[in-house]
Subunit: 346 residues, 4 copies
């Protein structure tokens, strides 16, 4: 039984980790860390856990936690993990960091986009970017996994096979992404109030969102070239879900079957990636509560572009589910253990 | 492995049965019945089931199905089950009927409120009202279970201990219930369009809703008297969830502790009923996707009334979850098998 | 041209006052008061007002404002108006207070329910309770109007004619009310975040909500007896709207026509009250954005109860619209000036 | 007083026409046409109009209507207007057609994208494309106006000045648009049910939506070249609103100020177009219920692209509001008469 500690257990991603791990046969949460709710019963913060979780929230004592837990999930704002990680801690435990601290290999890029100094650049090299379907083998041996961002997971996986196989001109890639509001976290801000989000849609972080360099770096590895994309996130009045609509010019005339074959090459054996039947557009509702990524595409011969679409649940495949998937790989468990979650509809 | 047939598999309750049974270790769906989608792949109707369910939808051939399945769930409009049930079928299989056909013991009452003639009154006596927490022992031996209505489940369980113990004056009981829109089914009606339901709330079926006599009959058994209630359902802009707010005059001055003790007497050992801590009002979101019933109450000494509140997921405890709970009891399985669903938040 | 000052202009009720007054021929806003946004452009707080309102937000200087404005709307938390009002101010201007400070005639009741000391009880006698349809004549001569609460307006008007005419047993009156989230204000609280409210419904303030004594006092005047009610508010996932479902035992056997005649007696000439056709249940969407109150009822002979339903837009008839209606009366303008707002659907 | 007839008065656009015209000083509705609700009171279909509109719904008798009305709005499916229009009718009345029948000058293009034969191609030449801000002078003299589509209005106006001035490479233009559900109309379809749309987002009509050629034609006129765009509409869980996010490569290095100056050149005097302050992203909520188009842009020097954003209320500027704006121009009235609608927030 793997002993799990969560730092940031009362955020939305932390709460989803708890939900998923309740159904995991080989893992057990031993630490519900939450700086804001120390000594408060976890189920008093998340009443859905009433009579399911009896534990109280604890402080962020990483040293103590490292001794108690086989793995720590840090579902915390950027900067936290980098500021507390150490060789001593990694000697005692493994870490899956759900923040951006170790996602980007280039420190300057990180510091520029996030506007903070990186406190532990010495661990960046060591960290494995935990996009399981792409870095599976590396994750298996990792002691520190950088769990990808929500927009990033969806954006990368949707375009990855085509980038890898050179089917699209990377300089033309545009990603227009739409997210449910849980992606904004549980902080009390006017902009996230019900009345401000409901009956509304807007773009934000235009040409400046922090997931941009993460997408560029990973797709750059795939395409074996420097990549610069346009990425525009939007806030949608729903709790969960990310839809990425991606546009790129094809490098040559291509048929549906050719593109489908490329997707199949990479994803046919992937349990959590579903390339839908021709003509079916992914909908976030069809993956809600699950670890699936639903993908499809349409070739537009009029413009010689391909339009790719990907949908995930931002809290599952975009955060907690992927973190558990990484944990499973790191501990040699079946990759889908605890993640056989059937999407909930409606 | 129990072989399960579903009639009405493409309705919302049918879809939820499929979702839940996917996670049931001892049951397997062998028949996805759907008159409207015969020969269409089930996953083409519910894309959340893509690559999870491969089966096609089948017609409603009860005789054939009875031979194939150990149990049939009829998630169909009222009248269907009564029109197809027979001794021959019940000799081959068990039935859990999610419609109202066998819920009400008095045929006249059924025919009056539903406005149709009952086609098989001879099976009414035989049928067990499948509110597991109350009729557990009877369900175990049943071959035909009448699965309670969604409003009914929530309304009855919220008031049951107080009715049973004589703490409330039954002639004063008023139930004001609020339901998500999935309770209205998947039929294409203008009144259920997104734009008509969204940003809106209304009462409907005032003093005439069909769940009224069902609640009255069951609470009458508990109180050992004829019961007449006011029951008002409301349509709320959300997919899932029922909240029942119930008002009754106390038969004598009573304290919080006394009432709490009565709830505990009946529900302390019930896995799926959670009587919340003092002062916490049930919220439908805290039970979403799960089989829980969350209950609490407040005594108002100013009016000598008690206000009781109960919350369920209408598609789980109010339909599919309870049906599976009944199946588990009928087949001697652990009652919570397949139902250890942690509520999803947010 | 009436010069209007608003204190609390950046709250939701304040914003709605601005919206409505933009369309008022004889009124002009001269002061957008907002302690939190001093010197910020009003349209930067409410972008809907971009290029419509050029003014900046100002501090709460009542003395200065009293000299500039013919009428001040205080859309502020309870306690504010009572703490700043004075004879000097009322010598210069009229006040419509949207808070609870002057709604309740009994100071002890106010202090008990609101948990604060009343700072200016000497003005309570003077204040007119601004439920225009009931106190029209008094409002005309008022210099201080206590604008009714949102739940209150809806709850009182729905039951008023029957209370006045003795058709219902006031000791049996139960009000189950449902409100959109704008009623909770624009403060940044976790409980009002999109993800917490969406797909959720709950009761709150059970048997303790502050609008209770206000409803009791006013219906007590109508019924000419002390009134004690059960009042339960609920939070509904929508921006605007209040629906009150009210239950009472009839004092004698009564027909639809008799009750209808009573409603007509009081409301037939009321422009903003619409008693719907028989069998039509009020829906909040049908009054959205308007000053209407939609009312209907159903007699239930089985229980000898009447179920009354009323719907308003909480920000219009429940706050800003009614405030403007009061202003119109106070200044001798046509009562509906600026309020000929057609409900927006969908 | 202009006498107005509406065909299709019970659709969402028809209902919005009625709402807006109620507040128009110089127009009066004389005919509520609705094939599906003949002889039913209009207010029974749209209860928001209870006690506001007394009229009954009438059949589609164009000849009779042409004699009664000074202008007819056809808020009908494509094909209707083309099949009933005639010289005789146009001799008696003017027409504002809210369908696509006369929007596209090239009949082949129309027939290919809409899949129907055009019944009255002889009137296409005559018809004026009613995008008032661009074709104002032509609209003034028109007897037949083709009211633009909702996506189209938003998409074109957002990019128009840059297309006109050659600032963007038209071959790179990509429009990713998001619409509220009222755009799908009031027809009873499973896909538009509350439970299917709520908590969900999806693309649809990818590379095949019928508004594509309309956008291409109009932007082609502006750019003075053939234009081929990628246009992807999405269905968003809200009632109203369209947001268009548009991407294009700049033809030369350009500053914020230069682009702003171009927008100002075309829109500074336009009452209904608001180019927001730098850095503010348009939100559909800020224009809800109004005739405004909110626009802004961001230059991304990393990719040499500009990202433009535009927001409208699809039922107002995207349908009924623009239709009234056209009517005002056609009859020599002030262009904003009846359209001084302040956006409703929240």
């Amino acid at each position: 039984m793997i002993k799990v500690g969560i730092i940031g257990a009362t955020g939305y991603a932390g709460g989803e980790l708890a939900r998923i791990l309740m159904g995991h046969k080989d893992a057990k949460i031993v630490w519900y860390g939450s700086r804001n709710y120390i000594d408060k019963k976890y189920a008093d913060v998340y009443q859905n856990m009433f009579q399911i979780v009896d534990a109280k929230c604890l402080d962020d004592n990483m040293e103590e936690l490292a001794k108690k837990a086989d793995v720590i999930f840090t579902a915390t704002p950027q900067g936290f993990c980098a500021s507390v990680i150490s060789e001593a801690i990694l000697a005692d435990t493994k870490i899956v960091d759900l923040s951006a601290d170790f996602r980007i290999k280039d420190v300057d890029t990180y510091e520029k986009w996030y506007g903070i100094q990186h406190k532990s650049p010495q661990f960046i090299e060591d960290a494995v970017y935990g996009l399981c379907e792409i870095n599976r083998e590396d994750v298996k041996g990792a002691r520190l996994v950088a769990n990808p961002g929500c927009y990033t997971t969806c954006s990368i996986l949707t375009a990855y096979p085509l980038a890898k196989e050179g089917l699209i001109d990377m300089s033309t890639l545009i990603i227009d992404a739409k997210s449910g509001t849980s992606g904004a976290g549980r902080g009390a801000k006017v902009g996230n109030l019900y009345c401000e989000v409901n009956e509304n849609i807007k773009a934000y972080g235009v040409a400046s969102h922090r997931h941009t360099p993460e997408i560029e770096e990973q797709l750059g590895y795939a395409a074996k070239e420097d990549v610069r994309i346009s990425f525009t996130p939007h806030l949608v009045p729903m709790n969960r879900g990310i839809l990425a609509t991606e546009y790129a010019t094809l490098t040559k005339q291509t048929t549906y079957e050719e593109v489908k074959a490329v997707y199949d090459k990479y994803y046919k054996e992937e349990k959590f990636i579903r390339v839908l039947d021709e003509g079916i557009c992914p909908e976030t509702k069809w993956v809600e509560g699950s670890n699936y990524v639903d993908i499809n595409f349409k070739i537009d011969p009029r413009t010689n572009r391909i339009i790719m679409m990907g949908a995930i649940d931002n809290l599952v495949k975009g955060a907690a589910g992927q973190a558990v998937q990484n944990m499973n790989l790191m501990f040699g468990l079946p990759e889908s253990e605890g993640l056989e979650l059937v999407p909930m509809f409606p």
